[in-house]
Amino acid sequence: MRHETAQRTVILGVAASDSHVVANHLIAHALRARGFHVVNLGACTSVAEFADAHAEHPDAEAVIIGSLNGHAHEDLHDLPAARAAGRLGCPVIVGGNLSVGSYKHTSDHERLYALGVDVVLTDLDALPPTLDRLRAGTTPAATAPGAYAAVPTVTS
């Protein structure tokens, strides 16, 4: 299995319309400090770019997408199509500020799961244990949305 390789690899980036990169920089630092090989695609990264990166790094154990500007759902609109085309066959983790407005609803997360996102997080601290858990578990069923929804998420 791919997570048996010497260095664990993750693909990191910020969603397609989103240029907020401060958290992205800090996450990259933090994961590198834990020994990860972080392929950081930075701001404004489309689903296609994430898929390309995954094709280049098939050993990546997860794609981690940050979204702050409220556009998470629209920015991941192409995820089902990509998955249907057999791309992005690893868990997709999304975190940040995931909808527009100051009042958040659980439906904000549900509709991301419906797109095939595997784990929705808002708490950064939950990221490393989540990666560990995903790695210990079975190979993610890329086409089974919500397969990892049981991982505790903090809805804010």
């Binding site: 990169v21 930075g42 409220g70 629209e74 527009v100 958040k104 708490d123 804010s156």
Partner: protein, 465 residues
């Protein structure tokens, strides 16, 4: 008339002359006039950020803000698809669920709807966005009779996109500025606000001001006549006041005398406290910085800043609270003028050391990308690959923002030493892990207010109740 225009059926853009005539017929002051009046009256003009996807809701939002908060200028904040010229995505979300847009897609709605908005309120409008290439958006804005337009070839590229070359964005903004020059000749002075806020988080004042000086010089060369230099409140009182006071001095030094220059404070643009009372303390503090620093304008924040795009009530409350800073009852406040003068000296020195080598080369549009490529110009936390982000800002013990690493900035030994000394004195530099320290510096105000600074799962509910 309101609500009669639907998107898509917008006819071709009117001529510049027609738009100038339209603005004149509108019967309200331009943004430049409002800024001039505020400065003359020794008060700070107030302006909110505001933008929602739906046209009808945008109309209501502007009218509610106008009526209940009486701002001096109103904003169309543009959604981030439009900013990135992803007009199709903007249109798709607009059709599916406009509430999912984080701003008003002016290009999708069209210039006629822009005019409807303009006619619905008594104060001038500014378009605030973040577009590396804003040409179509600018033309649409002018056609809508909008008299203030934010951005610049550096400041609306590096924080807002990943891969747009600086030469492209500078060229696109040269076109915008040149159109402003044409409009000025036709009798309409458009206020061009430069986004010195950049990536907003821990931006050293001299970086913000240096970028604005370069953009201002470029804009003035194209004929821009009114420039607002936006500076993001960093959190240290004397440093922020000095930065605002630096603006007219820099204008006198680097710009032709016939360009009107205003300083604008963007209320704290970093991580905002989550609790309402703490956020409101910060909002009032920001407004006081603007007033005491002599800013012509303040862009306000709301107590919902940490949570998401604010609702109308929060936006009104933020403006009303900020307007207390225009109170005639604050003359009793004395400042630490010695400390401010000291900060001001250093800011002017640092800016000079950054911009003067660049300005000494005649073709700014070639020199700026080259300087960024080499790190002679740089910004922290760049979203774009076209800045190196080798400079690392940190807070000194007193909260002032200093350079912990200056990368390839052409700083003198004196400037280097002073930054080192300031960080060393605070006992902050070199202590513990850099990322940890940086995170603490970013979360500065959470700490001031004793809000938990963990990365999540904070004490209080995330959404205001």
């Amino acid at each position: 008339m309101s609500g009669t225009v639907s998107p898509g059926d917008a006819p071709p853009l009117p001529s510049l002359a027609e738009s100038v005539a339209y603005v004149r017929a509108l019967g309200k002051p331009t943004a430049a006039q409002v800024l001039r009046d505020a400065r003359a009256a020794d008060r700070v003009a107030l302006q909110p950020r505001c933008g929602v996807g739906s046209h009808a809701q945008m109309m209501t939002l502007l009218q509610d803000l106008d009526r209940h908060a009486r701002p001096d200028i109103l904003t169309l904040t543009i959604d981030s698809y439009t900013r990135l010229k992803q007009f199709d995505s903007a249109r798709a979300v607009l059709e599916r669920n406009p509430a999912d847009l984080n701003g008003y897609p002016l290009v999708a709605h069209g210039w006629q709807r822009g005019r409807e908005l303009n006619e619905a309120v008594a104060v001038p409008l500014e378009v605030r966005h973040g577009s590396p290439d804003a040409r179509l958006l600018f033309e649409t804005s002018v056609a809508a009779g909008i008299t203030s337009f934010e951005g610049g070839g550096i400041s609306y590229n590096l924080p807002y996109s990943k891969a747009v070359p600086l030469s492209d964005s500078l060229a696109a903004w040269r076109d915008v500025d040149a159109l402003c020059g044409e409009l000025a000749e036709l009798g309409l002075v458009v206020d061009r606000e430069l986004f010195g806020t950049l990536t907003a988080v821990l931006v050293p004042p001299s970086i913000s001001l240096a970028v604005s000086v370069l953009e201002a010089v470029a804009a003035a060369r194209e004929g821009v006549r009114c420039i607002s230099v936006a500076y993001p409140q960093g959190g240290h009182f004397e440093q922020d006041v000095a930065a605002l006071r630096a603006v007219p001095l820099l204008a006198a030094r680097y710009l032709p005398p016939d360009v009107e220059v205003h300083s604008v404070l963007h209320e704290f643009m970093g991580v905002f406290p989550r609790e309402r009372a703490n956020a409101e303390d910060l909002i009032l503090y920001g407004a006081l910085v603007a007033r005491l620093g002599g800013a012509s304008k303040l862009i306000s924040k709301t107590y919902q800043e940490a949570h998401g795009i604010p609702d109308t009530r929060a936006n009104i409350d933020g403006l009303l609270l900020a307007s207390r800073a225009n109170s005639p009852l604050l003359d009793f406040i004395a400042l630490d003028e010695g400390r401010i003068a000291d900060e001001l000296d250093w800011i002017l020195t640092e800016v000079a050391e950054i911009v003067e080598p660049v300005l000494s080369v005649s073709d700014l549009h070639k020199e700026i990308p080259a300087a960024f490529a080499e790190g002679r110009l740089d910004i922290p936390f760049s979203a774009s690959r076209h800045a190196l982000s080798r400079i690392i800002p940190r807070r000194a013990g007193d909260g002032a923002i200093r350079y912990s690493a200056t990368g390839a900035l052409p700083f003198s030994a004196a400037v280097q030493r002073r930054n080192e000394r300031s960080l060393a004195a605070g006992g902050q530099a070199g202590i513990g892990d850099m990322v940890k320290g940086l995170t603490a510096d970013i979360n500065y105000f959470l700490d001031v207010f004793g809000e938990q600074t963990g990365t999540g799962g904070r004490g209080r509910a995330a959404a205001p109740s």
